[in-house]
């Protein structure tokens, strides 16, 4: 009966959640009828192969041949879009607020109520404009990504069987219970953080400043240094988003996912160390700022800067190590007994 269960799984896995159980039940009943009491392996083979490719049968249930974004992937696509919408709104809001704060300085030069209103409106409009742009961009790239996934059949291996005569030996094993579920909330937070970070670094690096109302504005990072590292930062950022999305799609920990996650943690660590270790990372104005405000605490900044940096590197290394260990543990642990 193993082949039967595999067959039923192969037919129903592409169907919508609500149809899956029903179709499986009916199919099982029909197949058992067709076996006419003979449960020998050869009879099972005969009946199943007469029914034909589970992929074709699945298509008949779905009633459509070509999808832009197929049912298997569609659910995830919609969920990803929802998450990214939330992310885009949050990113937009964050930049808007920072923008507002930074621009508070210019309020000094403003005299009439009209100008204040004008300035506020401009900031709001620009904020909405940014958010809109960000949302559109993400929608476009995500949709494109999923279309590519669909076309290259990256997620569906049964399609390879299309055209070939169906043999029961081709049926894939049933998926094992699978590792622990991956928290969607965690993934959302991760996406929000990464995208906000990338967004600010790429488009609004002017916001990475410390501004004291009415006073000087100190740039934190050296624009030139940051620009030099831009490809690296962008690369790691995109990698991070891809890994997070992959985790979202798969939904549960698997060996492959664990490896991917661990490798990414290491890559990210190395990249961060490279950037942070650069002696030219922090702008002169920032060290000046620290000097001005904390110098009289008796702390010698230049030497302690290096100590701060190594301290930071140690901390993130430990965090990365924990990440690697947890990933490997989650992906490779023995599954607990699944209670029906």
């Amino acid at each position: 009966m193993l082949y039967v269960e595999r067959y039923i799984y192969a037919v129903t896995k592409n169907l919508q959640e609500k149809d899956r159980v029903d179709v499986a039940k009916e199919l099982r009943s029909n197949i058992e009828d067709m076996l006419e009491g003979n449960n020998s392996e050869e009879n099972i083979k005969r009946v199943l192969e007469e029914m034909g490719s589970p992929y074709e049968l699945s298509l008949n249930y779905l009633n459509q041949e070509k999808y832009l974004i197929g049912p298997r992937v569609y659910q995830t696509y919609i969920e990803t879009l929802k998450i990214l919408l939330v992310v885009a709104v949050i990113v937009g809001a964050i930049t808007f607020v920072i923008d507002l704060l930074v621009n508070l300085n210019s309020l000094d030069n403003v005299n009439s109520l009209g100008e204040i209103i004008g300035l506020t409106l401009r900031i709001i409009a620009s904020g909405i404009g940014i958010m809109f742009n960000v949302v559109l961009d993400f929608f476009f790239w995500v949709t494109l990504g999923f279309i590519v996934l669909e076309r290259t059949n990256a997620l569906d291996d049964m399609k390879e069987q299309k055209g070939k005569t169906f043999k029961v030996e081709d049926l894939k094993e049933l998926p094992k219970g699978g590792g622990k579920k991956i928290s969607k909330v965690e993934m959302t937070f991760s996406l929000v953080f990464t995208i906000a970070f990338l967004f600010i670094i790429l488009f609004r690096s002017d916001l990475m400043v410390i501004g004291i109302v009415g006073g000087e504005v100190y740039e934190i990072f050296n624009a030139a240094t940051l620009n030099a590292y831009m490809p690296l930062i962008l690369g790691v950022g995109v990698l991070s988003i891809t890994v997070t999305l992959y985790k979202l799609i798969v939904g549960r920990w698997t060996k492959r996912l664990a490896v991917v996650s661990a490798v990414y943690a290491l890559i990210s660590l190395v990249a961060t160390i490279i950037v942070v270790s650069d002696p030219n990372l922090f702008a002169q104005s920032f060290t000046r700022f620290l000097g001005n405000n904390f110098g009289n605490w008796g702390i010698e900044l230049s030497t302690n800067m290096d100590r701060l940096k190594s301290g930071f590197i140690t901390v993130i290394s430990i965090i990365a190590l924990i990440e690697v260990i947890t990933s490997v543990y989650q992906g490779f642990r023995k599954e607990k007994k699944v209670v029906k």
Binding site: E26, S29, N30, D33, M34, G52, E56, L57, N63
Partner: protein, 112 residues
Amino acid sequence: MDKKEEFLISFVVELKRGTLTLAVLSQLGEPQYGYSLLEKLVGKQVEIESSTLYPLLRRLEKQGVLSSEWDTTESRPRKYYKLSDFGDEIYTSLKKEWEESVKIMNKILEEG
């Protein structure tokens, strides 16, 4: 299989596909389950495969043409389908349409 045979077969399939739904509906005045219906149709020389019939039944049910009920009284649960009231109307109309088409086709084929 030579080209001519291939073409013939594809035309025949196309011809028969059009009558499939009507054939299926005609047998559902009484409740039937998947396999019993399949056997009945095949017995009456309707060429239909299980991989076509089962999804078709499901689709017809979604369209409201058929109603279904799970029978759990036997050792094995079975899903029984039969014509709904709406399905009954559809079937009657469809049957009339078919009889009309047959008349017209026969006339054309005679004269042609």
